[in-house]
Symmetry: C2
């Protein structure tokens, strides 16, 4: 009999998450039946989407939603043999009994020298979201060789902290006086209003996050975007990486290739201990992390 | 020497347009030079876009922007012979001297029994905007034969007045309980927030107008749309018909064909007298018109 530790959402978030929204609970797991496997979490992920999605996908008393990198420790399903690693939407739990429906085996040729935690980061949902946002939604074209060389040399051309910058408008204007063709929106709120004004005609906006409004108790309001969208003929698209699920295997291979070639750089912010998962989640929403927030069990 | 009556925007609109924003002025026109023509307005159009565009395209003292159907009454340009009709962005004026740059001759085979005023309506910018919004932006597919028959039978399935309806939310839910795939946005403001909530996943929103905010003195605000756009993976695109200018000739032919076949129905709200143009414009923004607002000189 295996005992699973789980983090329960005992009370829906109201404003910024508090430790008291969560409760650690131990659950006795049944033996895996035919077709089922028993998983042990190795790495768990905390992501900003959990804050808004908890409200629409969960009831109070449910185990928190989330993805983990787990090891198969018992198996009655030949697709997931003992010792293999899977990515699964098991929620915040150390052990899980499930059939394979929602599991994805990691790439068969995952390199030895690449941490499996990256399956929750740059070679996983966040990497895919960035890739699809850039290629499918924004439709960014290959830059000229000179531009690519320049970008490589500098890393990013310009960067600033949207929370501490004096004037967003000035910062955006200085960074690109002629405006912006593409905008990858992850912040939302008043920032989006300022950024909208800096778009060029026929600009594209990929929206996959809106972290600045996630903890609103009453929704923040801002000027309606329609008039600017007409004047500039802008395209704005909300998306999740799941929209291009049929491309995932090939996309993950490309991401892994770029990582191995040194074209992609990954940084992780690892918190140790399943017990610290709510703290890691709250830190993420405060912006404490630099790099992908991961919990190592 | 020809005298042109013109309507000048003497003061930028502040809130709802007033008669005092306009001044009727008589202008002496020069003789048309080589390559130039002299036009006489037959029909002029007032359109909601004039309200927001006046702010970004005009200075105080300019002749109001706008499109007219005019007759060539003198010509030093073989492309536009005397007696022919053109659509031109000449502004609110009875007579114009210009080279042909901004003029479009009406279709050579314009049917005798179709009013030339429709070149400002269903066989012009508004017709093209509807066509491109539906086909290019919303990507509406051909419906099944049964659906088409049903639509033909009923005209529209459902309709309501967004200004007088008790609850927009209830009206939209009742009209289509399962939600909406496509939304042609012309109203904006609080209406857009309610409509956004009724979209289905992967819905498309074509934005070519936002009349409910045009007369704001301070911008109305509403909840930011981003989170809903992510959850439902919505696409929203601001556009003007000019984006598909290369398709205009073929599109106008299609519109004319549908009109002649009785598939398109046009209704016009004609105001007589150039002197009444500001009044017609203000009536349009109040929603007094049913059908395309046209001024017959």
């Amino acid at each position: 009999m295996v005992q699973a530790k789980t983090w329960i959402l005992v009370k829906h978030f109201d404003g910024f998450p508090k430790q008291s929204n969560f409760e650690l609970k131990v659950e006795e797991l049944p033996e895996p039946k035919d077709g089922e496997v028993l998983l042990e979490a190795v790495f768990l992920s905390v992501d900003p989407y959990m804050r808004p999605f908890s409200r629409i996908r969960m009831k109070e008393g449910n185990v928190m939603i989330g993805t983990q990198l787990a090891k198969v420790i018992q198996s009655n399903n030949p697709a997931f043999p003992v010792g293999s690693h899977v990515v699964g939407r098991c929620g915040w739990r150390t052990h899980t009994v499930c059939d394979g429906t929602d599991l994805v085996a990691i790439m068969p040729d995952w390199p030895q020298d690449v941490s499996l935690s990256l399956a929750l980061g740059i070679i996983g949902m966040p990497g895919l979201t960035a890739l699809y946002g850039i290629e499918e939604v924004l439709g960014v074209q290959k830059g000229s060789d000179a531009k690519v060389a320049f970008l490589k040399e500098l890393g990013f051309d310009e960067a600033f902290n949207y929370k501490t910058v004096g004037s967003l408008e000035e910062a955006l204007k200085q960074a690109s006086p002629e405006g912006y063709d593409c905008f990858f929106e992850n912040v939302g709120g008043p920032f989006s209003t300022v950024a909208l004004q800096q778009m060029k005609n026929f600009g594209r906006i990929a929206v996959c996050g809106s972290i600045s409004v996630y903890n609103d108790t009453t929704p923040q309001t801002g000027p309606y975007p329609h008039l600017t969208m007409i004047f500039k003929q802008l395209k704005m698209e909300g998306f999740m990486h799941s929209k291009w699920e049929h491309k995932h295997p090939e996309s993950l291979k490309r991401l892994m290739g770029w990582l191995k070639e040194g074209k992609l750089h990954s940084r992780e912010h690892i918190t140790k201990g399943f017990e610290n998962m709510p703290a890691a989640f709250m830190g993420l929403l405060r912006g404490d992390n630099i790099g992908k927030a991961i919990i190592a069990v």
